[in-house]
Symmetry: C2
């Protein structure tokens, strides 16, 4: 991530490039009294959390709260039929999945690096995650829509749904027996999209960052069906970082507990309702400006669906605005234009496998930053 200046003052660049979920701070300041954590100097010292668990560095208290929040929200099957593998953010778990899938017994030496693909526009982090170590186990294979599977060589498809950057609901593009699917469900939470069913895939990735806003914890979890695959993912996290911070696991457990208590014990901590209200207000303002100015086009999202968690029809409220610039045709690179002319840092379409006529703008920044963004967006025609 490039360094950049802080965001609140009008005369400075506002950074909407990263999806830094600081919008949730105000919620936790007001409603998070149950979510504090105190750690004594002598606690959490060992490498080990539970030597009898397949994921030996996973704290039982964190595992309990992970399974509980999925049960309450209903967004994924997380009962005992699933193994939980945690990582330092879901980025590490995505790589752990690539490692585990490309080291399956029987594969070794049979072919070159296993291709990793995703339907464009795809999350900009996938190509680098697959390629930065120039591994001979796997390599980035590009847009799943234009990828031709090898008849005998397996490949990995990353399916992000709701999708980063554009919020669309994705299903696998490549359907054959050589496809290994990694389902990235970072945004499959009620503040962003209606929960229409409990996802039930072989490999599902989640992260605390987009669920509660605690990106600084660097905590993700994978729900994995196959025990051997889960073991290889654990091995990857073991070899890479010898596990995951126990301090952050305790913290994430406290935070998820506060959220679950808010819904099960009728506490004040109604995170998903706060999130929906905030996202709905922000999307309304984005749509207003886009409509009024006509410089930008927005995707049509699917119609509202019934959300089993909210028990009502719910609209799609993606964490990012995915804008297509339809103004001055001489402007090829809208992200550079926004930065140089309007002091808005955002991520250009090329990073997501499409053209720089598109730009991804985070809607999860602090309110002040979002207000400045709307003001600046209104000045573009």
């Amino acid at each position: 991530m490039a360094a950049s200046s802080a965001a609140e003052s009008k005369d400075r660049v506002i950074n909407l490039d990263h999806g830094d979920p600081t919008a949730y701070e105000s919620f936790w300041r007001e409603s998070g009294e149950g979510a504090y954590l105190k750690i004594e100097g002598w606690e959490n010292m060992s490498y080990f959390s539970d030597r009898n668990n397949l994921c030996w560095f996973l704290l039982p208290v964190f595992e309990t709260e992970i399974r509980r929040i999925h049960r309450i929200v209903g967004n994924a099957t997380a009962d005992e039929s699933r193994h939980i593998v945690i990582g330092n953010g879901s980025s590490q778990l995505f790589q752990a999945a690539l490692f585990a899938l490309s080291t399956q017994p029987g594969l070794t030496g049979t072919s070159g690096p296993m291709p990793v693909v995703s339907a464009a526009p795809y999350y900009s982090g996938y190509p680098a995650a697959a390629d930065f170590l120039k591994s001979t186990l796997y390599k980035w294979g590009g847009d799943a829509n234009t990828f031709t599977p090898h008849p005998s060589t397996p490949h990995n498809e990353a399916i992000c749904s709701p999708n980063n950057p554009d919020g669309r609901l994705n299903n696998p593009v490549l359907l054959n027996q050589n496809s290994n699917n990694i389902h990235d469900l970072a945004y499959y939470w009620p503040q962003y999209t209606p929960i229409t069913k409990a996802a039930d895939h072989d490999i599902m990735l989640f992260t605390i960052s987009k669920c509660t806003g605690h990106a600084g914890c660097r905590l993700g979890w994978a729900l994995v069906k196959d025990a051997d695959l889960a073991r290889r993912m654990v091995k990857f996290v073991e070899l890479g970082t010898i596990g995951v911070s126990k301090d952050s696991q305790h913290r994430a457990a406290a935070i998820l507990r506060a959220v679950s208590n808010g819904y099960e014990s009728g506490g004040a901590c109604k995170l998903f309702h706060f999130g929906r209200k905030m996202m709905a207000e922000r999307w309304e303002r984005v749509r207003e400006v886009v409509k009024a100015k006509g410089a930008f086009g927005l995707l049509e999202y699917p119609p509202p669906s019934y959300c089993g968690f909210l028990r009502e029809e719910a609209t799609h409220l993606p964490a990012f605005a995915w804008l297509k610039y339809e103004g001055n045709q001489d402007i090829e690179d809208i992200a550079s234009y926004l930065k140089t002319e309007h002091s808005i840092e955002a991520r250009g379409g090329r990073n997501f496998g499409t053209t720089d006529k598109y730009v991804r703008i985070s809607l999860l920044e602090r309110q002040k930053t979002f207000d400045v963004f709307i003001e600046r967006l209104s000045s573009i025609s």
Copy 2:
């Protein structure tokens, strides 16, 4: 790390395989009142710690305490001439260094994977760290003593001093302009060895695990001279895990602050004195048994040296006992023998690039476990 049962009861396997530094728990229970941490629900939410720092995910409060403890102990140059890069444990930073060294401008495509070597017996984690992703950037090259450098291709040498497993003081074996040295100084603290000078190498790795015993924090730091190299290490941590837990950084800062205060403000928290006393007692008991029984041989360590921190002559008190079995010559694999016959789990010499006549035994486990170990060791002749 293999799962295994808890260690305190006599009739069960005791695990001395991992160097889990739980021996420090008793110190923090008694003297660690200043080291607690309280985190509110709304704190540490952003990905970013300091956008203006080369290491953008490093919290200023942690950086301050890292530089301070090195200044107080005098074990490494950590002034502003050094860039600090943090990682999820020093294992991640070792890999970050390999990545940074093998992606130097000008190298690309000039040759095959850059060899990574270390003088045997070397830390058992190095080979897997270099090889598990089958990278084309770098690969394990084995024992530095038997490695023939390529005339034009650079290589990386890991120098661990005091050395894991055997506690010897290491210097680089390969001295030519193609050598990139990574100095692993995890054990260069006063409880293990006299501090004879401030280490001043280009890349130095440290970890909280062996310094204060907080392995569960998963925090390491690198002191790096070259800014571009440090930037590439930061990039590695960014691509692998998008930074490092801020909760653990705050915790490590609180812990290091308690230790530094103990020496600067005359508090009760004299960690290094506790550590030396404990290690001295444990080593005395190990030597007693080894001497009495004759089944095992121990290395001769260098004579005591003047420790600038303790202001006195200090002996070498390695974190591991590195034992050579000299009993029944039919026993080839001493680690298996200890496990099957004496319920002691330890790491065999083959993992460190030598023979299984050697075994590494952690001296950092809880007192009860150590007592059981001594009792069982006494029964072997």
